[in-house]
């Protein structure tokens, strides 16, 4: 059945489109008459939170986005960063939270598809992907189903498309019970002189539709993604798109061939709000109007209305402004790959967005106001309350070995092998480090020594306790993980997942987290070059933990010197770089407190950014010097967990005598920031170590020699030695046992 464009515009219809009364007033002023049904749909698609960033823009502007290596910052499909020799890395992270909760396989699959398209739209061949996934409590009835569906959706799309998944995160918390997070990251390589942008140029040029046909799937998806969930969420299943990775793979190859032919003036993928958003963005950015003739749009269903075609979120589609003289050549490339190629419109000089359908003008709107002049809000916010300091001395004493095994064998810190073995982690033949280490590392094809490191990080429980420190910590941990491979962190993308911004306490979390992120990015020289905001992550009024995911990219000049987390040899000295005098102190909001004592108390660990930078730069220099044989940053679970991970990665154990006067819990499980574990191939009694220790003292870095590698056991302080088998059994069992496979 066709929905007529003449449908009456009622207050209920306006509300159903997520438009507030004052926003509708503004529409009336802009249009000078009542909008048509199609126009209402277009406004709804462009002015929803997902597409317009109307609540977040004010704060996003405060983030540092420039730097010596930044070629393209936020505002395009993805950020672009120079890596030298005429090459650049193109990357972005984006959420697909709401669709993945409603339909986990397709929601996650199309999330991966969308982010890959963002990257290759810019002219880059995708070389790496990551996924940051947050699920509800393991014992929640929906969690298992969602984990199974999301993981197989991520794999199903990425594996078929042919990009290695080299990293990511999987976490569980009851606060995601009704609203999971699926944040997909992709990075690609391009030539610095071969970057394509979405800004249309030139009047009277053909606007070309590329890729798959348009269907009714995903109609209104972006509007759905900008609303809170309630109990009737299953009714929204038809708004989730269906992915076709085969078509996307063909689209990638066809687009790269087309770009090489010189036919492309501007190109934009059709993501959220499909044809509407892509056409408006290309025109508005280029100060041009666009006229579309929907009768030319390739469709896979009959009798689609203009409204449906403009709001369809069918996947694997692109819109392009073409050099007219290259039309035949361009069409031949798309025909070869079995894809649609249709001229559906032209660029105009009148700054209007006009849509024709079956001889009727169904929309005629001012394009700038739809696009870059959409409404913007300065939402009220309140300063978040930070919890009282934890008195760790009052915690009951526990056995360090038992606690470590419990942590390794629990939902938070157990091995994610069950997840990443469903992802193709080695396709393309360039994966130097696969999931399970500090960062994924991929060598740069065509270059003898260069490699890129990728990491995705955030600790939501820290952000909940203290959004400002949590925001800082997310950036610092990402920067640290890249550094731990020996890479120089270049730039980052942010995926900001929060609750309902119309609530001042949620807006307060958002504002403070952005301030923390901005502060850390400035101090660490780690600009934000792309990103995505996902708000309204709430179900029945309960918000998620504030989750600003940071995806970072670093550059290794020579991957033969890259560090890995596994102990490399026996009898090597283990050094804890960047530690406080008692090695570890901070148990507030720690995994130890949460899993061993069942408490979520205290403040988030503070990040001293100047110290962070000093320590990281020092570690990176040591790795480049060649004396570092293994390196691992300390994060969730602190020193004990980091040591266990280094031992499990290689099968070589270690003995750490520990400090007799310190509290073993804080020493081994404290989550103080800015710390790394290194093994060194030098003699602890020799002059080299003496010299290094003197240098560290001068830098103001405390880096005690805490123990030695060797054997098949991990011996921590006074606790009993834990065998390699006991460690790995605990670490590897939880996930398969939980999933029942």
């Amino acid at each position: 059945m066709t929905i007529s464009n003449a449908r009456q515009i009622t207050p209920e219809l306006i509300a159903a489109h997520g438009l507030k009364p004052d926003e509708y007033q503004r529409i009336l002023e802009l249009v000078g008459r009542e909008p048509t049904f199609t126009e209402l749909g277009i406004f709804s698609a462009m002015w929803n939170e997902h597409c317009s960033y109307k609540s977040s823009k004010k704060w996003l502007r405060t983030l540092p986005t420039k730097g010596d290596v930044v070629i393209q910052g936020p505002g395009e499909n993805a950020g672009v960063v120079d890596i030298g020799d005429g090459d650049c890395v193109v990357f972005k992270m984006e959420s697909h939270n709401h669709p993945s909760y409603i339909e986990p396989y397709q929601g996650a699959a199309t999330g991966v598809g969308g982010i890959l398209r963002d990257v290759f739209t810019m002219g880059a061949r995708p070389v790496a992907a990551m996924n940051a996934l947050r699920f509800g409590a393991p014992d929640h009835p929906k969690t298992k189903h969602l984990v199974a569906g999301v993981v197989s959706g991520v794999g199903g799309y990425g594996n078929s498309f042919g990009v290695p998944t080299v990293g990511g995160e999987v976490n569980f918390d009851a606060r995601y019970n009704g609203n999971i997070l699926v944040n997909a990251f992709a990075a690609g390589l391009a030539k610095t002189d071969g970057i394509f942008l979405s800004q249309a140029k030139g009047v009277g040029l053909p606007v070309v539709y590329l890729g798959a046909k348009t269907g009714r799937d995903g109609v209104g998806g972006a509007t759905m993604a900008s609303a809170e969930f309630d109990d009737k969420i299953d009714e929204k299943r038809p708004t989730v798109q269906v992915g076709d990775p085969f078509t996307e793979k063909c689209l990638l190859e066809a687009c790269l061939e087309l770009m090489a032919s010189g036919a492309v003036i501007a190109i934009q993928d059709m993501g959220a709000a499909g044809l509407t958003c892509s056409a408006v963005e290309m025109g508005a950015k280029g100060d041009l109007g666009i006229e579309l003739d929907l009768d030319k749009v390739p469709v896979r269903e009959e009798q689609m209305s203009a409204y449906e075609m403009m709001l369809s979120e069918s996947q694997e589609r692109m819109l392009m402004v073409l050099r007219p003289e290259k039309e035949a050549e361009a069409e031949a490339i798309f025909t070869k790959w079995g894809l649609d190629f249709a001229i559906v419109g032209t660029t105009t000089d009148d700054l209007r967005f006009r849509v024709l359908h079956q001889g009727e003008e169904v929309a005629n709107l001012p394009i700038k106001e739809l696009g870059d002049e959409a409404p913007e809000y300065d939402r009220p916010w309140i300063e978040p309350k930070t919890p009282a300091r934890l008195d760790a001395s009052a915690l009951p004493k526990v056995d360090v070995a038992d606690a470590l095994l419990k942590l390794l064998g629990g939902p938070d810190l157990s091995s994610r092998r069950w997840v990443w073995e469903q992802y193709d982690t080695m396709i393309q033949g360039n994966s130097l480090q696969r999931p399970g280490g500090d960062a994924g590392v991929v060598r740069v094809e065509g270059h003898a020594t260069k490699a890129l490191a990728f990491s995705s990080d955030v600790t939501p429980r820290y952000c909940e306790a203290d959004p400002y420190e949590g925001g800082k910590q997310a950036v610092a941990e990402c920067w640290r993980n890249l550094t731990a491979t020996g890479a120089l962190p270049l730039a980052a993308t942010d995926n900001l997942n929060f609750g309902n911004p119309e609530r001042p306490e949620i807006m307060g979390q958002f504002v403070k987290a952005i301030q923390g992120i901005g502060e850390a990015c400035r101090e660490l020289g780690f600009p934000i070059v792309s990103g995505n905001v996902s708000l309204y992550n709430e179900t029945n009024g309960q918000g998620i933990l504030p989750t600003p995911t940071i995806g970072g990219v670093g550059l290794l000049a020579d991957w033969s010197k890259m560090a890995r987390i596994g102990f490399a040899a026996e009898n090597q000295m283990i050094v804890l770089v960047g530690a406080p005098p008692s090695w570890g102190t901070h148990l507030g909001q720690s995994i130890f407190l949460r899993n061993i004592h069942g408490r979520a108390e205290g403040g988030a660990p503070p990040v001293d950014l100047a110290h962070e930078k000093r320590v990281g730069d020092h570690v990176r220099n040591l790795i480049a010097s060649g004396i570092v044989t293994a390196c691992h940053d300390l994060s969730d679970g602190g020193l004990a967990v980091a040591l266990a991970e280094m031992a499990m990665a290689s099968g070589i154990g270690a003995t750490i005598p520990g400090l007799t006067e310190a509290d073993p819990a804080a020493m081994f499980f404290g989550e103080d920031q800015g710390r790394y574990l290194l093994t060194l191939s030098i003699d602890p009694q020799g002059a080299e170590w003496e010299q290094l220790a003197a240098e560290q003292k001068k830098l103001g870095i405390f880096a005690p020699w805490i123990g030695t590698t060797g054997g098949r056991e991990l011996k921590l302080g006074e606790a009993r030695a834990i065998s390699f088998d006991e460690l790995t059994t605990a670490h590897e069992s939880w996930f398969p046992d939980f999933m029942g496979t």
Partner: protein
């Protein structure tokens, strides 16, 4: 020796395979497109891995019916060496160039990990640079690698020494019957295997156990 790589929409380890053949032989392979009805004069034809045509029907079923595969079959009949890796193996089975079938993994999940293979027959054109019974490392990455053949076929290929690689040391990732990871045709010039030797040929891959397979096929001495 000259080689060719078959390109079909949806294959995605073609670049890995071309890189491996180029690095090992010093010469880039020629490429053959889905609609090509003839294959140039080469000694080795490789069908790489991926998801040809999305594998939306039975894996490899559409690819097996493309003109390029008819051309591969003609060359195979003339004794030209053919290797199909992963989706390439599935396509060779669907084309009838190799016996048996590849079913969904018993886990019903995609699996990407490193496994151990034993060289069950080192007396083939593809394995002569390995030792008989040698255990090698090799990555796998597939959803449908569970090899099956009826009892009669199985007995025949086992008796003929057509089973070339077996998953070893308990690392069978997919439930394949008799731990079969790779087989050759009865004439011995067509090899299909699920694992990806092209992803383990140099230091950057963390090892080079896959190299000898291509060196054998390309006539490069061990």
């Amino acid at each position: 020796m000259k080689s060719a790589v078959v390109l079909l929409p949806g294959l995605n380890r073609d670049r890995d395979m071309i890189a491996a053949l180029t690095k090992i032989s010093g010469k880039a392979p020629v490429t053959v497109w889905e609609t090509d009805t003839e294959i140039p004069d080469v000694d080795l034809i490789v069908i790489p891995g991926g998801f040809s045509y999305g594998d939306y029907l039975r894996c490899g079923a559409i690819a097996a019916r493309m003109p390029a595969l008819r051309a591969v079959a003609e060359k195979a009949a003339k004794g030209v060496m053919v290797i199909g890796v992963c989706n390439g193996f599935q396509i060779l089975v669907e084309s009838g160039l190799l016996p048996g079938a590849l079913m969904r993994n018993t886990s019903l999940k995609f699996v990407c990990r490193e496994v151990k293979l034993s060289v069950a027959n080192a007396n083939t054109a593809f394995t002569r640079n390995y030792q008989p019974g040698q255990i090698i490392r090799c990555p796998v990455a597939h959803h449908d690698g569970n090899y099956f053949a009826d009892a009669e076929t199985l007995a025949r290929i086992e008796d003929n020494g057509q089973v070339v690689f077996r998953y070893a040391e308990g690392t069978n990732p997919n439930g394949s019957i008799n731990d079969i990871a790779g087989i050759v045709s009865d004439k011995g010039n067509v090899l299909g295997l699920m694992p990806h030797p092209e992803n383990l040929i140099e230091a950057a891959h963390g090892g080079s156990d896959g190299r000898a397979l291509f060196e054998s096929a390309l006539g490069i001495a061990a």
